[in-house]
């Protein structure tokens, strides 16, 4: 059973090694002669003002929440897509109807979001 995951584990190990080795190797091999100018934040030649930690607008949050909600909708569709072909005729129709109802209900949500202009960047 676990043997089937070996390729995934190998890829995981390789990707972790790749990231760790590359980051550390460049700092080990590269010359490091810092001075004050080099260490300051690069702002296209202009003196940096304030911190980089700016408060984000709530608009980003709005988009992120709506993304998650519709993302979860898509997650539900994945097992449907996989299982659909294996079902018998009756269950096939039934699952088609139940997914259609699901999508139609969420479509109302989508219409609502669009018409309310919740995704407009004003």
């Amino acid at each position: 059973m676990l043997e089937s995951y070996i390729p995934i584990i190998i890829i995981l190990i390789i990707s972790v090694l790749f990231a760790v080795v590359n980051v550390n190797l460049s700092s080990l091999l590269g010359p490091s002669r810092p001075n004050k100018e080099k260490l300051s934040t690069y702002e296209s030649g202009i003196e940096p003002v304030g911190t980089a930690h700016e408060r984000f607008s709530v608009k980003f949050y709005m988009v992120a929440v709506l993304f998650i909600l519709f993302d979860i909708e898509v997650v539900f569709l994945y097992p449907w897509a996989v299982s659909f072909i294996g079902l018998d005729q009756l269950k096939m129709m039934y699952s088609f109807i139940s997914v259609s109802v699901f999508i139609i209900i969420l479509l109302v949500g989508y219409i609502y979001v669009i018409r309310k202009g919740a995704l407009n960047w004003d």
Binding site: K91, Y94, V108, G109, I111, Y112, K116
Partner: protein, 478 residues
């Protein structure tokens, strides 16, 4: 799989579900749609109440065993529908006054209503959980609906954080119950007598009950109630304290009665006494009427738990009667507070909610003061109002289950309650007004007034004729 004919068996639920969606479409397709939506949601709730009465005395398990229609669940659902009806009527003027006259408000109310009905009708823990989440999500939004008022935001955030935390308890309980029984279906779970004595099952049920005790607001899970009810829009506070509590009681009560673990009896009795004591004593010191009503709702949760602790056949009718009486009187009192509240002026806090404002209300506004007196008398449990019979049937159930001490303590503690209810009445009729008399502008076109009239009718009707309730909801007299 669901058959088409199953759909006809849950018409009230379907009506509410589809109108909640339809309202959203109305909101985005018509301009100035608020009045249309208000009328539409009223009709939807009335239709749901009317269709509910078709299903009495028809015990059935439908939707692939996910829903169970019984007399008890129908009774609770009708009480919730009535509470929502009064809330919707009262909301119209209130949200206009608060400058939040949006169609989404009604949609949220109906979604919450749908969640509550699902919980009540559920025959599967999955459905209970989905219904609970649907209800809670809408409650969090409704509590924070006055977006520009800091108090309201604070209330929504507190409610959300604590509610989400307690949902974790409920989910953990569900996981344990599922782990030991291998099913989420309540009929199957209760049919296996051996599993009902298993540790895991008992702890799982206990976690589930703890989560619902939080939603009902029973000591020691009551601490969120004053802050949330104080900060939420006043009509919403009334709805949370009635419909929200009824849904939680109606969901957990059949489970408690079916599991019937006798060791829980003493725990419920202690919780009931502690809740009544806490709610009534702290309410004495309140100077804000919303907080006072919040503490009084904690005390009411204690009375309900007196019924739960008796765990016999009288408990169900006692609790159901108390809940319908409670709906009328508590919601009515909150709506009166909402009507007397000052119009939104962009301030952070609600105005005119101090007890001092109620001094001399009888001279300034005799009609409203009379109604408020009715509600307060009923809350204090004085005949001939519905609250008296509610308490009577609850304490009767406790006596019948050989817990006379509990009934005696409950009666003594409810006497403390009489003090602070009467204090408001004395303020209203026998104190000098602090406000100038002429300033009061009150119009009978306020929809809150219609809602209060409905609540008064309910309070008096069920107070004068207690048997009306049992015949209306087809209770078999034990």
């Amino acid at each position: 799989m669901i058959q088409i004919k199953d759909l006809l068996e849950v018409l009230p639920l379907l009506i509410i579900a589809f109108s909640a969606i339809f309202i959203l479409l109305l909101e985005v397709s018509i301009k100035k749609s608020e009045t249309v939506i208000f009328g539409f949601s009223l009709i939807a709730i009335l239709a749901a109440i009317a269709t509910s009465f078709n299903y009495f005395n028809k015990e059935m398990i439908i939707f692939n065993q996910f829903l169970r229609i019984s007399n008890a669940s129908l009774t609770f659902s009708v009480i919730i529908l009535i509470s929502m009806l009064i809330t919707v009527i009262a909301s119209k003027s209130y949200i206009e006054k608060e400058n939040v006259n949006f169609g989404e408000y009604y949609s949220m109310l109906l979604f919450a209503l749908m969640g509550m009905m699902l919980m009540i009708f559920a025959n599967d823990i999955l459905i209970i959980f989905i219904g609970l989440e649907l209800m809670s999500v809408c409650f969090y939004v409704l509590a924070g609906f006055l977006r520009l008022r800091q108090k309201s935001n604070e209330s929504a955030l507190k409610y959300f954080l604590l509610g989400a935390f307690m949902t974790g308890f409920i989910l953990y309980g569900i996981a344990l119950i599922y782990g030991i029984t291998g099913t989420t279906n309540l009929t199957l779970i209760f049919s296996d007598a051996k599993v009902l004595t298993n540790y895991v099952f008992i702890i799982g049920t206990a976690l589930l009950i703890i989560g619902f005790m939080f939603k009902i607001g029973v000591f020691p899970f009551h601490m969120w109630i004053p802050d949330v009810y104080d900060g939420a829009p006043t009509v919403v506070s009334g709805m949370l304290s009635t419909a929200g509590k009824i849904a939680a009681v109606g969901t957990i009560l059949p489970i408690i009665l079916a599991v019937n673990i006798l060791n829980f009896k003493i725990i419920f009795s202690v919780a009931a006494v502690a809740t009544m004591l806490y709610g009534n004593v702290i309410a004495l010191a309140q100077t804000n009427i919303k907080r006072l009503l919040a503490y009084s709702s904690i005390a009411s949760a204690g009375y309900i738990f007196v019924g739960v602790a008796s765990m016999n056949e009288f408990a169900l009718r006692g609790i159901a009667y108390y809940l319908i009486a409670y709906t009328f009187m508590q919601l009515g009192a909150f709506i009166i507070v909402a009507m007397l509240e000052k119009k939104d002026d962009g301030s952070r806090d609600y105005k005119n909610v101090d007890l001092d404002f109620y001094k001399g209300l009888g001279k300034r506004n005799p009609v409203i003061a009379t109604f408020m007196t009715f509600f307060l008398f009923s809350l204090a449990g004085i005949p001939p109002f519905a609250g008296f019979w509610g308490k009577y049937y609850l304490f009767f159930a406790a006596i019948k289950s050989n817990q006379i001490w509990l009934a005696v303590v409950a009666i003594l503690l409810s006497l403390i309650g009489v003090y602070y209810y009467l204090k408001i009445i004395v303020y209203m009729w026998f104190s000098e007004s602090l406000e100038p008399v002429s300033e009061e502008k009150f119009s009978f076109s306020d929809t809150g007034f219609a809602a209060t009239v409905l609540a008064v009718i309910g309070t008096i009707l069920f107070g004068v004729d207690p048997n009306l309730f049992f015949s209306l909801f087809k209770f078999v007299t034990p």
